[in-house]
Subunit: 210 residues, 4 copies
């Protein structure tokens, strides 16, 4: 059976690629009058570390979203309207990431950080729900999936997203009392996902996992 | 017969993907001095709801344009100059959407909203005409279409866009006296299209609809 | 023989798609205080027509560049370094277009327009040279071309770009004394290219032209 | 064996294409009040040459990164997690380029240039390390490579990046005492890469080089 989802994947890749690249527009070069003072310019650059950190964190998070999207769509061969709109929801949320990223960079080190982190982690709760929705729609209807996919593979993919939700929810709740810890929690989950993503490889020929 | 339109579809997907992602650049984080006042920052964020609404509406509308474009090009196998330029017109109008979106966000809740909504809905009248032009060019010349396409399928696709025009025209006229109602009318049409898009599936093997 | 240029075409399409879509960022919504005066907002919008004109002209010109690029690469099957860098030069110049476009929009109706038009038309002289370079490299080395391409087809493509150069050069020279006429000359050439682009169709099976 | 990396290459091409095109956003048209003085506008434009230079240099450098990426991925047929994240690191660094480019344009001709050049060349040291990492991961595991790749080809690709590192490191160190010379050194290396890139062509059928 031929894959029917090539153009959806191409469009999604385009949106992820643009969303991930637009993040850099939030990095503004220092405007301080440091023309004649290299040391001052170097200091201004180093003082921007919260912007660089927020940028890196969000780049990494969109990259992991793309890897996951890639992995899910390797298992999807046909599409229906529900699937297309669930995918559209994921893309919508992915393009939104630059907004709380800018908040994070702007309010780092101020008492208002908690609001920025709540917006940031709240968005990832929604993203997690959207990925669960996408895989829920796809896995409920075996006609949409790669023909030879095994039950183990379906369950594995499902489980992989399941613990994402409570972690992101905890990070969201934590943001109100300890915003820094909330960000660390997110970073830990994403690092875990990055390191374990190989184990979820369900490509044809090794259907039950590596 | 081989499809000749792959590169047109790829380029169009690129333009749609960028147009849909650039919308987020209109969302600006609050500039109010709320460093030390989380409540004030939260309030500033909530006060931006017209921007979020305009952003979401336009994201959704471009996404539906892309779904429709996708659907039409599944039926088109060859291209000529007229088709390429009708497609170029659609892409031109799609990239324009961010402009009245910014107007909408900026003038929401002011007496000038009617002008913003007229610009917004007027653009969608033009988009509708461009889609009718594209499908008119393609369906007039059966050489351009998928060989085994049925007359029912051609008529179905045509009818689908036909009632878009009067609805968008009504929304345009309504914008002058009741701008809010005009936006609701657009949103209703797009929701209808989203929910019925499955019924228009004319992919090979189920040519007469699902 | 398999085409070797798929990834070059994909990358080029990406750059064209982004360059064409970024143009819209130059359109800024009116900042005048027209919150309570719809008529004033409408007037401000209409007063922006030079921006809309410059935007449309540049969109159209990049679109025609893409159509031409598409047409040339349908005849190219293999690549070498010279070809890749000639293509890179075209992409470089394409991304530059937004700069003189912004100049054009900004200085329309002022005595400084001539400088803006000279920058704009000068860029198109360079673009024309770059396209001639690309096709020169490709056609000098028949190994790079579609195997069954005819001599007529090669000459036809060459001739098509040849008269572009004197027209763009004339437009460049004209810009210093009559900038408006210079823009009209460009628009006429591009319209001619748009209308005759069908005649250049050299796709397999109709190798000697339509 | 079928290539498994199509979607990685597509996504990477998207990121490179956007990163290369976004550079132009740093070019701002002159804001001086030159409406009635064409000569003044022309002078302001010419005075922006450091911006144009920085833009051209960075465009060229990203283009060469893309050519190299293209060349490496022609030899890679399968992927694992390490490869995907090494590739993600390259993309991350590529999107960063616009930041030191803006620094370079802004501080050209001032005593603070050295800091800007150090940031610029330092980024290219990291990019070089990332490319070495990617090719290190790929070449250590022959399962990932094109089946019929020769040892000579693997070594050739490796050597090609090896002398990039000391040159970029030297440019980085040089930036503190002679920033202009540091940029010239980078430009020379990139020109050398551009001119010799043909010799590295290891496409199937001419596996041992041209």
């Amino acid at each position: 059976m031929e894959k029917e989802t090539a153009r959806i994947e191409g469009f999604s890749d385009g949106v992820f690629a643009i969303a991930i690249t637009l993040l850099v527009l939030e990095l503004r070069i220092p405007v301080a009058e440091s023309n004649n003072n290299p040391q001052m310019l170097a200091n201004s650059l180093l003082a921007q570390w919260p912007s660089f950190l927020a940028f890196s964190l969000s780049f990494f998070s969109i990259f992991i979203m793309w890897v996951n999207h890639h992995k899910i769509f390797k298992q999807i061969y046909r599409r229906n309207s529900a699937l297309m709109f669930a995918n559209g929801l994921i893309l919508f949320l992915a393009t939104c990431i630059s907004y709380p990223t800018a908040l994070l960079a702007r309010y780092f080190g101020t008492p208002s950080l908690s609001v920025a982190v709540a917006a940031y982690t709240g968005l990832f709760v929604l993203i997690n729900l959207a990925f669960n929705l996408l895989w829920g729609i796809a896995s409920r209807n075996k006609d949409l999936l790669r023909p030879e996919i095994s039950h183990t593979a379906i369950r594995k993919l499902k489980r992989n997203y399941l613990y994402g939700l409570p972690v992101h929810l905890s990070a969201f709740l934590l943001s109100f009392c300890w915003p820094g810890g909330s960000l660390v929690l997110c970073a830990l989950l994403w690092t875990y996902w990055a390191f374990t993503s190989g184990r979820l490889d369900l490509s044809p020929g090794k259907a039950a996992g590596k």
